[in-house]
Amino acid sequence: MSKILIFTETRGNKIKNSGYEVASTGVSLAKELNCEAYALLIGNNLSEVKASLSDYGLNKILLAEKQEFEKYSNSVYSKIIADTSTEIGADIIFFSATAMGRDLAPLVAGKLNAGLAVDCTEIKVDSSEIVATRPVFAGKVNVRVKINSPIKIFSLRPNVFKATNTHGPEPITENVNIDLTPDDYITKVKEVTISNDKLDVAEANIIVSGGRGLKTPENFKLIEELANTLGAAVGASRAVVDAGWRPHSEQVGQTGKTVSPNLYIACGISGAIQHMAGMSTSKCIVAINKDKDAPIFQIADYGIVADVFEILPSFTEELKKLLSN
């Protein structure tokens, strides 16, 4: 094994949290395999962003910096990553399983004839083989896979791996120059629209989620208040999204988003399998539902069997008191 290349995603001139997680995981894997770990950043004006990566134990930070790279293009970025990987002789490439990572990883895999394990929740070295664990079948099964091609690509589920500062020597910075032609810009992002400033479920450490138990769309105010108190994102079950109460971007579950926050509070959600598939790897799950037989209680760490209207205002109050101390 000679090198691990870590694609570190930047958005709006910041590295996403998941970027630090992947960098740390790459660095610790490199230690185990006795090889080097390099990060690759693509974009424009990367000096600030690069500085925030200096404390994670990387050997090198590679910069593909150009005005043209400011806007995402999966054709351009995947070419830069694949060509950089070939140039430095990387055997292993890491991505975070974010929207961008899930877009780029298979494109790079195709270009490099590499096997790819997507959305891994664990990466281990087992008798000098890299073994990745990933949930499949809506989280009902965990599968352990290994990759047999010379180049191995992994995307890591956000919020599962730890980001750790290492205070080692500062990484060397190097610019990469990949030859690009106009044909490489075959897909171009024309514009990005951010839906309000609401924290997205996929990025949140805490999620407060509501389901049909809230009875009307107006009652989601209770969810929003609790979420605001906790600095949490608001999530929703499929039922209330399909009913038009909440936007699809809030939907957690198999046909919505898969999330893995530190704390997931499910309010008035019964716990259909498809919903649980989207949040079962949350570290701590709280369920509030007046039906004691609701399936959600089977995966909840803590539950209150009571009506959400009785519990939520008091819960929000208690938290306000706690957090203001």
């Binding site: 298979p106 896979v145 075959i186 897909t187 024309k190 997205d200 704390l263 760490d301 208690e318």
Partner: protein, 248 residues
């Protein structure tokens, strides 16, 4: 317009999944198979494009003879014909994509649609891999698609927002929920589904790059606590979250 749709069949989510005694495969007995839900958006989009631009729609699958049952469900929705790359082998995403790309190479479709991921293995690799093998542009997680002449404008979902992506035909589009509302088959469609043609093809590639070591059921969580049955349980919940779970 020639519109190709790559689809797969997946177990219905409510099916109880059993792992075979070899520890590496799923027991297909008792499993109800459905069209991968995300592929339904691809099928519906194909049908809408045909309604708008004329032409033909073709469904492509890789799998055993029995998957033809699922292919006929797409015919019932209105897809014109199908091609099955027939194999009993367990192929990974790379191999599936290679096989589909080899069929698509000669098909010269104007647009290729597939679901953003399959709900069994959640790889979301096949569409992207095909795009590399055929050197075509690729946009995934598409919630809106506008085609004007050869110009394609697609809206794509990202964390906390959307990207508007521009590209050109021919291209590959990965469909996301919200793109359209898949139609239900009508009686006429169901009757016609029985006689629409399915062409069998041989597999052209089988060297998997990933290998399953084993499958296991997730460790069942140790039983959670029901803290209480009314509002008096709230302070204790807050205390536990703070002191035991340490998430506050």
């Amino acid at each position: 317009m020639k519109i190709a749709v790559c689809i797969s069949q997946t177990p219905d989510t409510t099916t109880k999944i059993k792992i075979n005694s070899d520890g590496r495969t799923i027991d297909p007995n008792g499993v109800t198979y459905i069209i991968n839900p995300y592929d339904e958006f691809a099928i519906e989009e194909a049908l809408k494009l045909k309604e708008k631009f004329g032409g033909e729609t073709i469904a492509l699958m890789v799998g055993k003879e029995s998957v033809k049952e699922t292919m006929r469900k797409t015919f019932a929705m209105g897809i014109d014909k199908g091609i099955l790359v027939k194999t009993d082998l367990d192929l990974d995403s790379f191999s599936v994509a290679k096989n589909l790309a080899d069929v698509l190479k000669d098909l010269t479709a104007d647009i290729i649609l597939c679901g953003k991921q399959s709900i069994d293995y959640d790889d979301s690799q096949v569409g992207a891999l095909i795009s590399v093998f055929l050197n075509l542009p690729y946009v995934n997680v598409v919630t809106e698609l506008v085609i004007e002449g050869n110009n394609v404008t697609a809206e794509r979902e990202i964390e906390g927002g959307k990207e508007i992506v521009e590209t050109t035909l021919p291209c590959i589009i990965g469909t996301q929920k919200g793109l359209n509302n898949p139609r239900y088959p009508n009686l006429k469609g169901i009757m016609q589904a029985k006689t629409k043609p399915i062409e069998d093809r041989e597999i052209t590639y089988k060297d998997n790059l990933t290998e399953v070591i084993d499958m296991s059921l997730p460790k069942s969580k140790s039983k959670g606590k029901i803290i209480g049955y009314d509002v008096s349980a709230v302070p204790e919940l807050v205390r536990l979250l703070r002191e035991e779970a340490k998430v506050l």
